[in-house]
């Protein structure tokens, strides 16, 4: 019996087929692109079917690790550049399995939800193509066993994010938000690319696992690892919207809400955190100050973005700043070490569910009231009960109220932070308080009080509420995976060096719950009654600072974008006028001169030769024609003359 059980565990099981999960949405993207418009329902069926199949397969992969199975890795050769051998491969371990679940589950919910939300949209089919392509890219990042493949998925995600934010590009604000998002994340991607180069040059391979082994064996110098870690973290700053490149994420809320839920809450922005976790070996073998730097960036972003979330009127922007803040939680926890990494992944796991739930819930609200602004909402709990209750569950999870998922993961985070630096712990606790406050503010402004908008809001269709209910169920359930009394199975799946779970520490839990409850109570008491003026907007200079987003956008625009744009455009204009036009004019002049010369040659030499031959022929013909008179006797004279000449010649010589 025991041997049989071990055999089951030893075989790779469904982990072998993880690559299929990544390939399925790619297939869906192709099918939707080519056949979507001719399919009934305009093509959503492909995305829902393949991502659903992917979700089932992900569960089977996770089952392999639930049984205690080991990591599985396989690859096929792709191509060779010089001495560098590039492969397409998969590395499937517990972390991969968890990420597969997150991505496919949220993606499936979003695919279903979009049927209702995007109903009647002009580019409905194209929207599904982009969604599927994005899902494929993200899954590719998750299963990739080498840096190069990861980079490919990473860049495709950036591109899909760009086209999806700009889905309604007819409005200028949307297209400029898309450009801003693309360029800002790109700023982070360049260091990331160089980080990959550093690792490839230092190790001679792109395989993540091999790089980890070389680091462990000390084959890569500490300084090199530091440089690589710092450069790679640049990619995280861009993609996971950390300070100072966080400015794109709030603007990215211009995209359709399902996109915000999938890309800008649950998956793509989490890819930055996943990257640090996947390449954690590099960070562990770097100088200690690199991880400190990571912690500082994370802590600053967590608190700063949380404060910005206080003053927003746009419900999606509140959630966007909250996402930045929560991602920063995870990033700052990475600095604590292996235990922090595991806790961060647990938070990533739970956060993906409840933040997707909140985004989809806000989408349902926006769908009903046709506005993003909370000043035009209010009192929606009666007309939209399903949305209200699910949104409330998500908000409670975000605020960290037990026993929901957010509480457990935030608790683990704080426990591991308490083992790390004190400042990080205090900052995170403060952020938890602020998070609870602005979450309460959001719920109160949206669902309580009197309705301040226009028209009659009504509950959304089933295709939109069903994903909400599913995600709410997940939000309630997944937290227990990491709870210590449930054996904390989650940490066995994603463990890094330290298989044991973080223990439940009562005083930390008390502080965490205390902070959350304090935030909720303050929020409730402030927003219980309708007020003329939002209290958070009456804090004098602080409000100005927050509303202007620490003036960061102004600094970027006036300090970087405008100077570069003006200088560049002036330079481009000058180049255009002088260099390019000069080149074009010169080429034109040269072509004219050459063709003139060719024309002359053609006229005099070629035509001259042809005409000369013709004239010569005509002239000689004119002379010779007199020979042919038609008179037979004259011919006969010539004939006899010839005979006589020949006779004389033959007889004489």
């Amino acid at each position: 019996m025991v041997a049989a059980a071990e055999a089951v565990v030893a075989s790779p099981g469904f982990a072998k087929y993880a690559w299929i999960i990544a390939l399925l949405p790619m297939l869906s993207a192709a099918l939707t692109l080519f056949f979507g418009k001719r399919t009934p329902g305009r093509g959503w069926i492909y995305g829902v079917a393949t991502v659903g199949a992917g979700f089932v397969l992900s569960l089977l992969v996770l089952w392999h690790f639930v049984q205690g199975g080991g990591a599985y890795s396989s690859s096929v050769s792709w191509f060779r550049v010089g001495s560098l051998h590039l492969e397409l491969g998969q590395y499937v371990d517990g972390l991969t399995a968890v990420m597969l679940i997150v991505v496919t589950a949220v993606s499936l919910c979003v695919h279903v939800y979009s049927i209702g939300y995007m109903h009647g949209d002009e580019r409905f089919t194209w929207f599904y193509v982009s969604l599927s392509l994005f899902t494929a890219a993200m899954l590719n990042v998750v299963v990739a066993d080498n840096l190069f493949q990861l980079l490919v998925g990473w860049e495709v995600m950036g591109f899909c994010s760009y086209i999806l934010i700009g889905h309604w590009w007819e409005e200028h604000v949307n297209s400029s938000a898309a450009i801003k998002a693309f360029l800002t994340t790109r700023t982070g991607d360049i260091p990331f690319l160089f980080g990959v180069f550093v690792l490839i040059v230092a190790s001679g391979t792109t395989n993540i696992h091999q790089i980890g082994e070389m680091l462990g064996a000390g084959d890569i110098a500490r300084g090199t690892a530091s440089a690589a870690a710092l450069l790679l973290f640049g990619g995280t700053i861009g993609k996971s919207a950390q300070f100072p490149l966080h400015v794109w994420l709030p603007d990215a809320m211009q995209g359709p809400t399902p996109v915000s839920a999938l890309i800008h809450a649950a998956t793509m922005v989490a890819a930055g955190v996943y990257l640090v976790g996947r390449l954690f070996d590099v960070f562990m073998h770097a100088d200690p100050w690199v991880l400190q730097f990571v912690g500082i960036i994370g802590g600053m972003t967590a608190l700063g973005a949380g404060l910005l979330g206080l003053v927003q009127d746009d419900i999606k922007r509140v959630l966007a700043y909250s996402t930045i803040s929560q991602l920063a939680y995870m990033v700052s926890l990475m600095s604590v070490g292996p235990a922090g990494r595991n806790a961060a992944f647990f938070h990533l796991f739970t956060h993906a569910f409840f933040k997707a739930l909140l985004f989809l819930g806000s989408g349902s609200v926006i769908h009903a009231v046709h506005s993003n602004n909370m000043s035009e909402m209010g009192g929606l709990r009666r007309p939209m009960p399903v949305t209200f209750w699910t949104f409330l569950i998500g908000s409670a999870a975000l605020a960290g109220i037990p026993p929901l998922a957010g509480f457990w993961s935030k608790d683990e985070l704080l426990v591991s932070a308490s083992n790390g630096h004190q400042v990080v712990f205090v900052v995170l606790l403060l952020t938890a308080l602020i998070t609870a406050f602005y979450t309460t503010r959001m719920v109160m402004l949206t669902f309580f009080g009197e309705f301040r908008g226009h028209g009659h809001p009504h509950e959304s269709p089933v295709s939109m509420t069903a994903p909400l209910v599913a995600l709410a169920g997940a939000t309630v359930g997944v937290g227990f995976l990491g709870a210590s009394f449930a054996k904390a199975v989650f940490f066995k799946w994603v463990y890094f060096e330290e298989p044991e779970a973080i223990h439940f520490v009562p005083w930390v839990a008390a502080l965490s719950v205390g902070a959350a409850l304090l935030g909720v109570l303050v929020g409730y008491s402030v927003y219980r009654e309708a007020r003329e003026r939002d209290p958070v907007l009456a804090m004098g200079p602080l409000t100005t600072l927050l509303v202007r987003k620490y003036f960061l956008d102004d600094i970027y625009l006036k300090g970087i974008v405008f100077p570069i744009r003006d200088k560049v455009s002036a330079f481009v204009y000058w180049t255009n006028q002088n260099v390019l036009d000069g080149a074009v004019d010169g080429a034109g002049w040269l072509a004219k001169a050459v063709s003139r010369a060719v024309d002359g040659f053609d006229g005099s030499v070629v035509d001259g030769a042809v005409n000369g031959v013709a004239q010569t022929a005509g002239f000689t013909g004119g002379i010779l024609r007199y020979v042919q008179s038609g008179n037979v006797q004259r011919y006969a004279v010539l004939l006899f003359t010839g005979v006589v000449v020949l006779a004389v010649v033959f007889t004489r010589f």
């Binding site: 008179s629 038609g630 008179n631 006797q633 004279v637």
Partner: protein
């Protein structure tokens, strides 16, 4: 016994008369007759050489030539008649359409 040089001389005179006739006469019938003169000059040559060298092949050729000459005259006269029907003349100078 006629001596060979005499026969050859006679043949040359006869041939020259034929050539003159062909080149100088305008009447097509006379041109044809001149051609006959030239052919007969050849016949005289053949017979003379045959007799001088005791070889009968020359005489056989002469017989052939006579037959061919008869056929040639037949065709030639037919052409002349047709020309006359079409052009109402048998003047060789005026039959000069085959030219530039």
């Amino acid at each position: 016994m006629i001596r060979l040089p005499l026969a050859l001389f006679f043949s040359a005179v006869l041939f020259s008369a034929g050539v003159y006739g062909v080149l100088a006469r305008r009447n097509a019938v006379l041109v044809l007759m001149s051609i006959e003169l030239m052919l007969n000059a050849v016949n005289v040559n053949l017979v003379a050489f045959s007799q001088a060298w005791k070889n009968l092949a020359g005489q056989v050729f002469a017989l052939f030539l006579i037959a061919v000459a008869a056929a040639e005259v037949g065709i030639g006269l037919a052409i002349v008649i047709l020309i006359y029907r079409n052009r109402e003349t048998i003047n060789v100078d005026e039959v000069d359409l085959l030219k530039w």
